[in-house]
Symmetry: C2
Subunit: 354 residues, 2 copies
Amino acid sequence: MDQRVVGAGGFGDGGDPVAGSRSGPVLSRLGRGAEFDLIRGFYRGARRGGTGGVRIGAGDDCAVVVGESIAISADLSIEGVHFRRTWLSPEEIGYRAAVAALSDLAAMAARPIGILASLAVTPDDAVVIADSLMLGVRRAVEGVGGELLGGDLTRSPGPVILDIVVVGEAASPVLRSGAKAGDEVWVTGTLGGAAAAVRAWGSGAVPESTLRERFAAPTARVREALWLAERTLPRAMIDLSDGLAGDLEHLAAASGVAIVLQSDAVPVHPAAATASKSIEDAFELAIRGGEDYEICFAVRPGSLVPHQADFERSFGVPLTRIGTVEAGAGVFLEGTEGRTPLPPPGFAHFDGPD
Amino acid sequence: MDQRVVGAGGFGDGGDPVAGSRSGPVLSRLGRGAEFDLIRGFYRGARRGGTGGVRIGAGDDCAVVVGESIAISADLSIEGVHFRRTWLSPEEIGYRAAVAALSDLAAMAARPIGILASLAVTPDDAVVIADSLMLGVRRAVEGVGGELLGGDLTRSPGPVILDIVVVGEAASPVLRSGAKAGDEVWVTGTLGGAAAAVRAWGSGAVPESTLRERFAAPTARVREALWLAERTLPRAMIDLSDGLAGDLEHLAAASGVAIVLQSDAVPVHPAAATASKSIEDAFELAIRGGEDYEICFAVRPGSLVPHQADFERSFGVPLTRIGTVEAGAGVFLEGTEGRTPLPPPGFAHFDGPD
């Protein structure tokens, strides 16, 4: 750049100037400046017009989408809170942040249209990692048939901040509120892997490779959810972001029912079990550890079993029946020692330390 | 709260645990925990079902909206970058962040449906200011006929971070790309007020009250844009977030035209002019200072003048013709000394300091 204009409309005080580019989604035909060159780079080789539904993509003040019914969710990923740079590559950070958001589309059985990504980094990081972060975001969204609808870049005072907005078509959204007494509760995949990786890092160790993979490269169960919804199987659904215990509590509360979890049915990630000092410890990882991004859903009794083998063959992902829906409220654990109410949900990270 | 579960799925390392609630939009029927009590508070007394268009509001994994054509934009506001807490009250911070995002809907002449707000604060701030921040967000969106479609709360390692996603109906979106040679360029309101306030704070002074108001409580020109679009007046439109100079450059680039700005026509905010040491200085504030959130648009020659008095009477906001569209590229300044190309846009805050 041969010319420059510095922060705060030119009013930097030398310390921490307040400067915010407020550009909306931007693309190829922008004004000059290093910031816009960076943003243009986000779209290099990007897939466009993937699934349809995009009327106006990146490059104007808003993205404009069309569809029968549009599902939207936003998800913040913040360095030091949701990830650490010592754990993941920049591309993995972007990929994982996007999967976390896309998982909310899966939870509703919505078909992804695209992502708007707002990225905040320090000026140094902008040069070094912004491109890789956005490449990860794009890989995630393009992998489920969507496209990058907008990318915005802002200065951060320190931590990398990624806000991912997912947009999808949800003509027949599966809500959290449709579970009925008598339904079965099922879950995809295995649980506790991501949490086991976090625990390993937290204790100064290196997680076993499949555990690291569960944290660094989770899959948003978009295709799986669409497959199930096409067969009108799930009556209520949620994705597992806060941890099975907490997310079941959300499902139970939204549906106005009780959920009884069979403790010996919970599919613990094999490597998480190996890495745990006891069966109880592994079970805690599986029900309390968040960010597995599996989907959990209620179906009419007996309705899923005829499809189970077909599903597992199609996706290479196990389906496990983990509990039942009853009249009442709350989540209960049923094991060898009978039935007990589950303590409060997943992690409530604003509760005080005492 | 009589029970608690601490960060990172229970794996806090005592220092900076990695803990992220990934809940999507949430509402009243959630599990227990202080975090969800806080989030529930965001909706206390909230307006619901305002303009229609909302199929599923807050409380599930995604919000679901219906409309002919849905416009979506996201905007990050970060403490120390876009605002300082010493300048604004928490409610003003939330209000201003929401207006910045709603302004992108105005720029497309989209009718607001609602906002999804992701808020990241420290645990201490969660108790003290989260409610006020969200009250400000709600006041902004409810003021233009929309509603809060989702509110999410995450832990921040320090700065207050607000990501605002705006959703609107844009059956006939006004793009940046429709300006044609011969068109007139107009702007609403006056410019430079917000930047003059930032400059005052930056020099340790207290901004004059109308300038402070321009920064703290801007108006998203949603109604004004809809009024103009109903009369099919704007052929291309943008909101002024990066500063007039930079935003005109975006408009010119998107439309593949040149824009010639009449320097003596630029409507400088009166108090910004008073606070400036020279006419040139005031002019720089008006064209370089960002975040005025006025709208700037191109119209067919002569088409706007018959409506000008009606507009100004309806909204109490002046309309000013500031330039013309020509064949070519770039933005030029025409004044007493002839025509000169404008230096690069607004502020490019990732350009280096030398």
